[in-house]
Subunit: 247 residues, 4 copies
């Protein structure tokens, strides 16, 4: 059973912690929050400590609380605190931070010379499948009109990163992305392929943040059978699909 | 059985002619096209002449081919050729021209002093219900976010008149209307009401132009029980709904 | 500001408590749970006590903690513990219990002789609007084919009560209701009206349980302007719509 | 430019004829109807004869009107009239008949020893993509709940063949297919993948029969670069996708 440590205890982090703690394939060893305060163990899981990462020596911590993989839902710079420790111990990394700069990514690629690193801004299985399926259809039907529509809660400030990635991956201009902000929609993405006499719609609806946890669990599983290196989620999915197609 | 004459024999006119000719409540007497040429009777209905309106004296024509109602799917100015004849004969008018100017509408309101006139740019039952239902929900939930999305075939040049009317009737700015042009979609209109914890979607899909015929047939039926005057489709629907609610 | 007491502190009750505590129109005075244990005040709202209803004398409690309205999300029999107290004090009641027997309803109608009582199994604004809008369209287009589709999480045992109520209210046989159980869908209801040349879809998506809270808050507001009596949610909505239509 | 002959001139056949006649990649040489009568050339395309296949010697006909490919939208037994002629001349065949018996298919496989034969009951690009995409997602997420919903016009007698093929190809029981018959819907297929915290929907909407023509045109193009043999549409699509994935 894979031992996992989780960085980040915000809304997404808490949801991921709940999913990983309940997944029989993994043993969640600890959760790391930024600042001290609040609960010291995961609610409902008294054996899983929630520790504060400030002032912590990460090397010592890993010595006492060893893991096979780290899942990161904290923030951009956290990776600098644990990166070196991964290299020497060959700990896998699944990170879902969306705001990495090119510098961060350069650093992550460095780590990936010594261990397996997966880095993806949207780590749900459904969205990554949508990405792939849309790319396949675009490839076989380049003549179809394509539109991307995303709908999110009123407060979401800008175009969803996922919609931007979809557009980029389909080689579409930004004006092919429509963003609607209505009420409390958790996350709706739709890719519409318009043919002269038929329409294909690929739709993803996020229900709740726990979807990130399921995605992280899936990523850990696929990543664990790969060689050292740097991966993105949709690439791993593609690998899985390639294997399936060659059967 | 109501005797009906149809002005207009373009794509919409032909579809409306087929529907009216098959509706047991009506007896389609004739169809009027702009220019001579082509078939002289409705395909499959040899008893229904298709005549050319140029050089025709409309008064004489009506004397020889009397009707109780005229349905107009031709173009803006046609109304001037038959308007006076309606007044003296109290012939009902259902007109679905979308491009009337204020001057045209003024003229139509004049006719409506002597007979029943229904004038609506979109005459399908479904769209007019959508208009009404959206207005009702907006009235009881003014705090909900509202977005209008319309999807049509690639060649459709501008924002759909229906979507504009929806926005106007809901007192929404134009930027709340999204127009997507994809493939060969006949006509898709969606009004999304976003609440913090729920979403309501009202959706209309046009399948084919015959929907205008069903709408005209419905309009004729409701109009025939109304007093003289000028009506719009959604108003008539509202009247029908009021009666239903007071039962 | 209306003083409100809430019966029930299960998953729905907790969500309703959060919404009512944050609504500036209301002042949530207390929450009542069945059994003692757990937190003694609403998280984030230390001034709102969470008390246990067992062994409590409800009349004494109301004397010390007076309210203008009670909202009930607990279980069927709770109403017997506070019913008489409502009558003498003319406290409004909004109850969203779905399992009331005819006996319970008889008792509630008795209370409604002395005060205002609203009783509805599904108290969200959206679902009740769907009910009404579907009924209106059915009334003006009785010839359209109608189908109801509901989709819920895998574990939901039987046909949704809302779908059954929709069918009943549209005078449809049970075989016109399709229930799909897939993954973790919170609650999706769709009424499809099929016309020969067009389709109308009325769709409701629940996002989270807090929708019950918004519905209860809306119900309290409309109920407070009504005379004594027994009401259902869709009736109140109809009243609001009638007033809107007569403007 | 590929010379094409079309068997069948029913509703589907006529739509396919229009599409092939307008496609610059192909030169439609002739159309074959079952019985004599009606127009003798394709409307709008005076150079394309419409001939009757009864009493015709097909070998003579092909000698005088040679083609590189035959597209068949007629009925099951027609294949016996032209099958041998294909073998000797290495004419490609794209047939979209849905009612072939095992005997017919055996005969077609025989022909495929000498030329390229594509045989598929649903020949639209969109539906075949849906088949493939659904199979891929099923492969990488076998734990997801899957439901198939198809909606068609009121008169369609039984479960759609496409829905049945989808279910079979996803290894789902028949009770996972819901068939709704409402109004005049041309053809709506939806595959729903339910995950605990997200939902993926793959949706295909047929707009009009010309979609078969676009599908046949696409099939001809892909088939022409394949070696001799027997193919199904989704297989060809899979080949195209494999090539794309290996790039």
């Amino acid at each position: 059973m894979l031992k996992v440590g989780l960085m980040g205890y915000g809304k997404a982090g808490q949801a991921v912690a709940r999913v990983l703690a309940d997944d029989p394939r993994y043993s969640l060893q600890w959760v790391m929050r930024r600042q001290p305060g609040g609960e010291t163990s995961l609610p409902g899981h008294p054996g899983v400590p929630v520790a504060a990462m400030d002032k912590l020596d990460f090397d010592d911590w890993l010595h006492e609380h060893p893991v096979d993989a780290i899942v990161d839902f904290s923030s951009e710079d956290t990776v600098y605190s644990y990166g070196e420790a991964l290299r020497s111990r060959e700990i896998m990394l699944v990170t879902a931070i969306s705001g990495y700069s090119p510098l961060h990514r350069h650093y992550l690629r460095g780590i990936a010379q010594d261990t397996r690193v997966l880095c993806s801004p949207n780590i749900t299985l459904g969205i990554n499948f949508l990405l792939l399926a849309a790319r396949l259809l675009r490839g076989i039907a380049p003549f179809a009109d394509v539109e991307i529509v995303e709908q999110h809660f009123r407060e979401k400030p800008e175009v969803s990163g996922t919609a931007r990635k979809l557009a980029e991956s389909l080689d579409l201009d930004d004006d092919k992305v429509t963003s609607l902000r209505v009420g409390g929609i958790v996350g709706h993405h739709e890719v519409i392929f318009g043919f002269p006499h038929q329409t294909v719609r690929l739709i993803h609806d996020a229900i709740r943040r726990e979807a990130f946890g399921t995605g992280a669990a899936y990523a850990l599983q696929v990543l664990s059978s790969q060689p050292k290196g740097f991966y993105e989620f949709d690439e791993l999915l593609l690998t899985a699909i390639r294997e399936q197609l060659l059967k």
